[in-house]
């Protein structure tokens, strides 16, 4: 199997899989993940080593594109209109989940008499959501309406909350474990956020300044990919959040000039194959054997994460007087979990020698579940409020 052939099969099988699973009303994201599992190393082993080594590259690129596109939803006039609600909902949905999952696990750890600090980190990971899967479901079913608008904004900014919580959680957990409170961890977390916002804002300005040189539609794509890659590459090089910097760049670009929406449109016409490959590779990486190790902790995590999201969003919506459909259904649509949570798991793995690996395993195992079920729940919520035209 050479790499070109493997790439061809990934694309074509992804297409066929999505088409077939449409008959049982599964969203494409789920279909891609399932195809990925099938052709991954555990079963058919069609994905070559070379493609596997490029997975990281690919997922960073795709997350950069997603986050950049999400930035488009933050036009200033819209922010002025509904930002208070978005802030409340995203904050409480994230914070509530953190607190709830941490509390549940804390109680469990106390009962079974193991160290309790992993509970705090696991809770922080639970607050993360998955912009890519969410966006793809919305796009596939051409969902539009109030819930869709809120959802796009909430998944975009709750990653910022999640990063703050993760930094706090790791600092607290470290304090409990080693009995020294390292304020530097919190600063590092804040630095990661502000650094990302600054980079994204600077590149967004440069983007908007230089785009006067872009003349033909063929150049659009080259230009936009160049900048997204530059932004992602820089963010990785100086260790700030790729998602936030890309989102910030998108936000700045759309606000600096109205006609910049063309760039977002252009991106949408070509990004489909990238998403497909991204999710198929994500599926190929899913490790099912890890599910056996999940245990009760994993189950508690899953249950309380969903409760946290549903009720967190509900409370946030109530406080900020958001419309009823948002109050009732936004939380459920936030259930997908993916890379951001895994990222926290990776940090934990390197920070806590004794329990880091355990934390990572729980996050990875629950991610397997949420990756597969999350998109279905997002689709379900959007259908319930009537923002997806009937697919029948």
């Amino acid at each position: 199997m050479n790499t070109l052939l493997s790439a061809g099969l990934i694309l074509l099988l992804g297409f066929v899989g999505a088409r077939l699973l449409k008959y049982v009303r599964l969203p494409s994201v789920t279909a891609f993940l399932i195809v990925g599992i099938l052709i991954g190393p555990h079963i058919l082993n069609i994905v070559t080593e070379e493609i596997f080594t490029a997975s990281d590259f690919f997922s960073n690129l795709v997350l950069g594109i997603i986050a950049f596109s999400l930035g488009e939803n933050f036009r200033l006039e819209e922010i002025k209109k509904g930002m208070k609600q978005i802030m409340w909902i995203s904050f409480i949905a994230a914070f509530g989940t953190w607190v709830l999952v941490s509390a549940a696990l804390l109680i469990y750890f106390v009962i079974v008499k193991v160290p309790i600090y992993p509970a705090i980190v696991l809770g922080a990971a639970a607050s993360a959501t998955a912009p890519a899967a969410t966006v793809l479901v919305i796009r596939e079913y051409r969902a539009s309406g109030l819930l869709t608008e809120f959802l796009l904004k909430v998944v975009a900014i709750d990653d910022a909350w999640c990063l703050i919580f993760a930094a706090l959680a790791i600092a607290f957990a470290n304090a409990m474990r080693a009995e020294v409170f390292q304020i530097s961890i919190i600063f590092a977390g804040l630095g990661e956020i502000f650094g990302a916002l600054i980079i994204g804002a600077i590149l967004g300005h440069i983007f908007s300044f230089l785009n006067r040189f872009v003349k033909t539609s063929e150049e659009f794509l080259v230009y936009i990919f160049g900048f997204i890659l530059l932004n992602v590459g820089l963010s990785i090089a100086i260790n700030v959040s790729v998602l936030l910097s890309s989102m910030m760049m998108g936000l700045v670009v759309i606000n600096l000039a109205r006609e910049n929406y063309k760039f977002f449109e252009m991106l949408r016409t070509v990004d489909a194959p990238l998403y497909l490959v991204f999710f198929i590779l994500a599926g190929a990486h899913l490790d099912f054997s890890i599910l056996y190790k999940m245990g009760i902790v994993g189950l508690l995590y899953i249950i309380f994460r969903v409760i946290g999201k549903v009720y967190g969003a509900k409370i946030g919506a109530k406080i900020s007087n958001a419309p009823k459909p948002i109050e009732n259904w936004l939380g459920l649509s936030l259930t997908p979990q993916a890379g951001v949570a895994l990222g926290i798991g990776l940090v934990a793995k390197s920070t806590f020698p004794e329990f880091g690996n355990y934390i990572f395993t729980v996050i990875a195992a629950t991610t397997v579940i949420f990756e597969l079920i999350g998109p279905l729940l997002t689709k379900f919520s959007l259908m319930k409020v009537g923002e997806i035209a009937s697919t029948e």
Binding site: L5, G8, L11, G14, L61, F213, V222, Y223, G233, P273
Partner: protein, 391 residues
């Protein structure tokens, strides 16, 4: 040296390529040439800004991009067009390829005889001279939105002369072996004929398969996924089966252009995404160019460069005259055939493997002249099309 992360590396490629091409446009350089120069500049020999991980993907990208180009070239061979243009295309391509072959070979034989060297490398060098570079030519045509009879004919000629080049190189290798060892091994010729026929057949089958399969495609997003996936599949399978990816991709493009009612959709969607692929492709070609070989070009290289071009011009002239093509074609088309790239290098690689003693010399000559042709070729193509009034 500290390596950039690959994403950053790719960003450097795209951004320097983009702005570099804009800058060099001011002095009327085609984008291809600009990309190659930038590739040389940021490549491992000079600034070393391209991470190794990306360089390692060069083969993958170049095979895919050549597949995209060959597939797109297939669109120029609809039956309707070929009724009118079939004869000149065949005549011109056969003659320009064989004249380049014969003239370069004769000159080399004479030179080698005068210097008391073995003459058989000259056949292989001549065969490599028959090849052209579809990618560079297509890029120039696209960039300047050239259109007209010369452009149309050029697109067809660069598409099929690779087939001739494959036949010639098989013949040349057979001759060279026969002269070198005194035994005539017709196996090489038969094998390459099989390679060509099998490529045509296989490309045809895949083209029909794709045509059938494509009825399931509904949205534009799916169209892109399926088209790109298909080209990967064709190229990947061709490599696996030791067929010519250029020919298989082209034939599947021809089949689709002829049997599918909405064939233009496939070619159009590719055109939307390929500028970025071309950019990466040519920058990587530049980064991989062995510019260090230029001083080693020697007299052999110079003769090769001069007589290859002469062969192309004479061949086109005679071919156009024989087939009663428009005078403009006879006059200007050959300029577009000056670029030389991967196909010639492929011939050089097989020569290197076959003749341990002379293979190195053949390979160096072809690689070094390719550097020159890659850089000068697009300028020539642009010049010719301008003269013909099609830019």
């Amino acid at each position: 040296m500290h390596q950039l992360n690959s994403i950053f590396g790719l960003a450097v490629i795209i951004i320097t390529g983009y702005f570099g091409a804009k800058l060099l446009r001011k002095i009327h350089f085609p984008a291809v040439t600009a990309y190659l120069l930038i590739g040389i500049l940021i490549g491992p020999r000079l600034l070393n800004l391209v991470p190794l991980k990306i360089i390692n993907f060069s083969d993958f990208i170049s095979n895919f991009v050549l597949g995209v180009i060959a597939f797109s070239l297939g669109a120029n061979f609809t039956l309707k067009d070929m009724k009118a243009a079939g004869k000149p295309v065949i005549w011109i391509s056969v003659l320009e390829a064989s004249f380049a072959w014969i003239i370069v070979t004769i000159v080399m034989v004479i030179y080698f005889l005068l210097n008391g060297m073995a003459i058989h490398p000259s056949f292989v060098l001549g065969a490599a001279a028959a090849a052209t570079a579809p990618a560079a030519t297509v890029m120039v045509i696209r960039e300047y939105r050239a259109r007209g009879i010369v452009t149309d004919m050029l697109l067809r000629v660069v598409a099929i002369d690779d087939a001739w080049c494959l036949i010639f190189s098989a013949l040349a290798i057979t001759f060279a072996t026969a002269i070198g060892s005194g035994s005539f091994n017709s196996l090489v010729i038969i094998r390459s004929l099989i390679e060509i026929l099998a490529s045509l057949l296989f490309g045809g089958i895949l083209g029909f398969g794709f045509h059938y399969f494509s009825r399931f495609v509904k949205t534009k997003e799916e169209l892109l996924i399926v088209t790109v996936g298909f080209i990967f599949l064709v190229v990947g399978l061709s490599i696996k089966l030791h067929l010519s990816p250029l020919l298989t991709s082209m034939v599947s493009g021809v089949v689709i252009a002829n049997v599918s009612k909405d064939s233009t959709l496939f070619f159009e969607i590719l055109r939307e995404v390929d500028p970025i692929l071309f950019l990466c492709f040519f920058i990587l070609v530049g980064a991989n160019l062995e510019i260090g070989l230029i001083p080693e070009i020697g007299i052999i290289g110079l003769l090769y460069i001069v007589f290859r071009v002469i062969g192309k011009f004479v061949g086109v002239k005679i071919g156009a005259w024989k087939s009663h093509a428009d005078a403009k074609i006879g006059k200007y088309l050959a300029w577009g055939l000056v670029p030389q790239a991967g196909v010639a290098l492929g011939v050089a690689l097989s020569a290197k493997a076959l003749y341990p003693e002379y293979g190195g010399m053949i390979f160096t000559t072809i690689t070094a002249t390719t550097v020159i042709y890659e850089l000068v070729g697009p300028l020539c193509a642009k010049y010719g099309l301008q003269k013909a009034g099609e830019i």
